[in-house]
């Protein structure tokens, strides 16, 4: 840490532009690492948050395996696979966006962020299509839940509440991710040349890759239940 003592200015600047070092940090390097470690600490909370959902799902799948196997046949594996492909590709484009932010290639960064945003939108659209199919078959556990095979209707209801719960929570995180990527995109468009500080884009990338990892585990657990 460079130890030159900075003259202390009294008031905290109201708006901290990302390129500057905020007053409590010594230099840009310390600030960068602080933000990355802070982001990872936040991702740890998200990991535990989704981890608990996966635990509930795993316990109930072991308790009601037969019913869950039958109920999961209602899910459309094709759309699930398509969504996985979309999200993995968006993860690639996001990583490229961070790369180009680091090398300060503004045009490429904008192109990458736009494609990530587009792919995220596609994911939400495919998800909406899937949900509409489920609603059409009265498989939403809210009001009138109807399941053809009466003997496992109750457990199928539990399966679908876990399905809607987990994928709904994930979709919410995807939407939040889209907002943040949108903000990065507008910021990049507004600037004449790429900013020196790529940390905000890096943090958006970390968040987006985490959302992708959640889906990586969600897909086999929900869609590929073995016999």
């Amino acid at each position: 840490m460079s130890a030159v003592s900075r003259s202390s200015h009294l008031s905290q600047p109201s708006h901290v532009a990302f390129d500057e070092v905020s007053h409590q940090f010594e230099d840009i390097e310390q600030q960068r690492e602080a933000y990355v470690v802070g982001m990872w600490a936040f991702l740890v909370t998200e990991i535990m948050f989704f981890g608990a959902v996966f635990l509930i799902y795993t316990v109930y799948r072991t308790l009601n395996h037969a019913a869950f196997y039958e109920a999961h046949k209602q899910l459309d594996i094709g759309l699930g696979t398509l969504n996985t492909f979309i999200l993995l590709t968006s993860s690639l484009t996001m990583a490229l966006a961070v790369h180009w932010a680091q090398v300060r290639n503004r045009r490429a960064q904008i192109m990458a962020l736009t494609s990530t945003l587009g792919l995220a939108g596609a994911f939400i659209v495919v998800k909406a299509i899937e949900y509409s199919h489920k609603f059409a078959h009265h498989l939403f556990p809210g009001g009138n839940f109807v399941y053809p095979d009466a003997s496992i209707a109750d457990q199928a209801r539990l399966f679908f509440s876990l399905y809607f719960g987990a994928t709904g929570l994930h979709a919410l995180h995807v939407v939040v991710g889209m907002l943040v990527i949108g903000a990065m995109l507008t910021r990049a468009l507004r600037d004449r040349d790429a900013r020196a500080d790529y940390i905000p884009v890096e943090m958006t990338g970390l968040y987006w890759h985490f959302v992708d990892i959640v889906w990586i585990f969600l897909f086999p657990l929900l869609y590929l239940i073995p016999r």
Partner: protein, 105 residues
């Protein structure tokens, strides 16, 4: 800590290679789901494939591979705690099915 490699720029080739690996694993996991290996084995297989994909994303896309030791710790601690939570809670459900162990009278 001075000079963390954080500003290290990763070549695009690394990203593309990781992406190809992820695609291959996606195809593998779907193929594996059609092979009747019995409940336990195929669940474990699906989980390990997903785990490998997740590790690729964490190491290469999230730059943990090139981050400082601190980032290593904080990216691993979350998943490690999940293992603790899963192992102990599921052990309760497994033990419940073992009604009585002889000799413990």
């Amino acid at each position: 800590m001075h000079g963390s490699q954080h500003s290290h720029v990763i070549p695009i080739a690394v990203y593309l290679r990781s992406f190809v690996a992820l695609m291959a694993l996606l195809v593998l996991t779907i193929a594996a789901s059609h092979v009747p290996l019995g409940t336990g084995v195929s669940s474990a297989l699906a989980f390990t494939i997903a785990l490998i994909k997740a590790v690729i994303v964490v190491l290469y896309f999230m730059h943990v591979r090139y981050g400082t030791r601190l980032v290593w710790v904080w990216s691993a601690v979350g998943f490690f705690w999940l293992i603790i939570m899963f192992a102990i809670t599921l052990s309760d459900y497994v033990f419940r099915s073992i009604v009585r162990v002889q000799g413990w009278q």
